[in-house]
């Protein structure tokens, strides 16, 4: 299976993602933001980082970069596009997924492990996963998911909420919401569920001795689902 990771100026999780994808059997290519064409891919990943130094709004400059037109076309034709952290911020700025990511509620940069509850397994990303609660890592300053009332109703009606912040038992409560996100939302899909944006980093959970194993479960399962 072929994957592509886009590198923007200021991306810093692109190589971690490359390591993770290769570890679980993807043939990965790094793609520069100034390229016009995507290589043939089964999965495109927009990685975490601080593209363009977070100028204007996080992800806004990257969303207008050259390669993004091919990424948008790829997504609109049904291709799998996953945005992690800054990649999620880029996705909302392109309009591929609804909403925006505001500054964290308590104005702190948050860097810690969190638990997330899967809401919807009828999609390529989470289908067949034998766990409902996963432990991932977050590291962000602008992860406070916000959308309008109408958008919230629409994403609920279309089952577009991918994951919620929760505790280790999967309880979704205010006290487990690290950044003030509306309804504890940590990740969402587009309507068709081929585009996934999420703040947590699965690529930081792929080594039992260093972190945890839930990222490994996620990537192994994703590869099997794409095959």
């Amino acid at each position: 299976m072929k994957s592509s990771v886009i590198t923007f100026p200021g991306s810093n999780c692109d190589r971690d993602m490359d390591v993770a994808l290769k570890k679980f059997g993807f043939t990965n290519k790094m793609v520069w933001h100034d390229d016009n064409e995507l290589p043939k891919s089964d999965l495109v990943v927009l990685p975490g980082g601080f593209s363009y130094g977070d100028y204007l709004r996080c992800g806004s400059m990257a969303s207008k970069s050259k390669i993004m037109q091919s990424v948008i076309n790829f997504a609109k034709s049904g291709g799998l596009v996953m945005g992690i952290c800054n990649g999620f911020q880029i996705l909302v700025e392109t309009g591929l997924v609804p909403g925006v990511l505001l500054r964290n509620k308590y104005l702190e940069f948050i860097c810690k492990n969190v638990f997330v509850k899967l809401d919807n397994k009828e999609n390529t990303y989470f289908k067949n996963l034998n766990k409902d609660v996963l432990e991932f890592h977050i590291a962000h300053n602008e992860g406070n998911y916000f959308c309008t009332k109408d958008q919230l109703k629409e994403i609920k009606d279309n089952n577009q909420i991918a994951i919620y912040y929760c505790n280790s038992e999967g309880k979704i409560e205010d006290q487990y919401n690290p950044n003030g996100s509306i309804k504890n939302i940590a990740g969402i899909f587009n309507k068709e569920k081929n585009v996934l944006g999420m703040m947590p980093h699965p690529e930081r959970m792929i080594d039992e001795s260093l972190s945890g194993e839930d990222g490994s479960l996620f990537f192994k399962n994703l590869l099997n689902n794409i095959k």
Partner: protein
């Protein structure tokens, strides 16, 4: 001609930075404030002499890049 754009957060969007600035001002003795909201200001020199055309160009910029209309409003002011 120069055209300015002011970007502000919509009313129902939380502005934690504005809140903290409000608290700081309060602490400094500026007690008669009911709210502070933080925004952005752009000054754009457009190569266009017709004011309405220049404003229309900046309006297009606001819609496509400078503002995120999910959370922000914009106002265009002709400065010169």
């Amino acid at each position: 001609m120069k055209v300015s754009a002011i970007i502000t957060l919509k009313k129902d969007v939380l502005d934690p930075q504005g809140k903290v600035i409000h608290q700081a001002l309060d602490g400094m003795g500026f007690e008669n404030i009911s709210e502070v909201r933080q925004g952005k200001y752009f000054e754009i020199d457009v190569n266009e002499n017709d004011p309405s055309k220049a404003k229309a160009i900046v309006e297009d910029m606001c819609k496509k890049l400078l503002a995120n209309l999910v959370i922000e409003n914009f106002k265009i002011i002709e400065t010169q």
